[in-house]
């Protein structure tokens, strides 16, 4: 259902980007970077005056005729992004949330691999599978 998924770390460095069509990768890299500003804005605008804990899911960060970008930020300030085709009207909010939870869970899983050094690019087969499942099945 997604056409691209990305994991970006606390310092805004992309650690994983995968997309359905490899030819689009460069374009998506650019979109992911642009979305980071939107995320920072969202976090600071609700940031300091919080009286409640905020949910990880940020909803739609921005949308163009072609693509819609959703964002999600964990307690460790790890950013997860999902890009979908804007023409895909069938996708419900619930489904996007479920995709994020799946990716977050997978990220926390691979972080527990004792041979994965935090901060390194994610090259896990396990993560690859989950990312693929989100892009194919949703």
């Amino acid at each position: 259902m997604a056409v691209c998924v990305a994991i970006v770390n606390r310092s805004n460095a992309p650690k994983y980007i995968a997309c359905v069509n490899p030819d689009m990768e460069l374009e998506f890299h650019y979109k992911v970077h642009t979305s980071l500003d939107v995320i920072e804005e969202r976090l600071t605008s609700t940031g300091k005056s919080n009286t409640e804990r905020q949910e990880f899911y940020l909803g739609i960060l921005y949308s163009t005729e072609e693509h819609t970008i959703y964002g999600y930020v964990t307690n460790t300030r790890t950013k997860i992004m999902i890009i979908t085709d804007t023409s895909n009207k069938l996708l419900r909010d619930n489904e996007v949330r479920a995709m994020f939870r799946k990716l977050h869970s997978a990220y926390s899983h691979i972080l527990c691999n004792p041979f994965y050094v935090p901060g390194d690019d994610i090259k896990s087969k396990y993560f690859e599978q989950v990312a693929k499942s989100v892009m194919v099945g949703g």
Binding site: G47, T51, E55, F56, N75, H104, S105, S108, C112, P118
Partner: protein
């Protein structure tokens, strides 16, 4: 005292092996050195850094530093150490004092003062765990310990930079 649950004993035993390993020499035949505290601390750091993403993934984003600290002292501590921290104090300027009156890795040892000296090496893993968990949450801190009576442990956390 009732018998520990089976799922607890493995962590106790592997923790004891880590302490023993850092206490001895890395290879056979060498003479015994002082306990390598930093090695134990780093292993604790690694565990704390990794476990915190997993144990906070079903919640929501913490409000602030104090909220984060409360989570660690209540929920996470209770899950790992079988009871919440007994006392959390802060000066609201980045200094926190956590007191555990019956620390899991010490409460099977005798209370005698002769053990007090060696107690630190059973606590330093947890200093690392705290530092690692906080680090991944974006809080850089120095964590130190204070043991005056067994099995009471005080953890001092000094946050070195304001969060974000």
């Amino acid at each position: 005292m009732t018998q520990a649950l089976a799922d607890e004993i493995l962590l106790d035993l592997i923790h004891a092996e880590i302490v023993a390993y850092a206490n001895g020499s890395p290879s056979d035949g060498e003479e015994k050195k002082d306990t390598d505290y930093s090695k134990i601390e780093l292993m604790g750091f690694s565990c704390g850094y990794r476990i915190i993403e997993r144990s906070t993934k079903d919640g929501a984003r913490f409000k602030d530093e104090l909220d984060t600290m409360k989570f660690i002292c209540t929920e996470l501590w209770a899950a790992i150490y079988k009871k919440p921290i007994d006392n959390l104090r802060t000066n609201y300027q980045g200094t926190y004092l956590l007191q555990d009156n019956s620390f899991r890795f010490l409460n099977k040892m005798s209370n005698g003062s002769q053990y007090l000296e060696s107690a630190g090496k059973y606590v330093v893993f947890t200093c690392g765990l705290l530092r690692g968990a906080l680090s991944n949450l974006g809080i850089n801190a120095i964590v130190s310990m204070e043991i005056n009576t067994m099995p009471v442990v005080k953890f001092h956390i000094q946050v070195s930079q304001p969060q974000n």
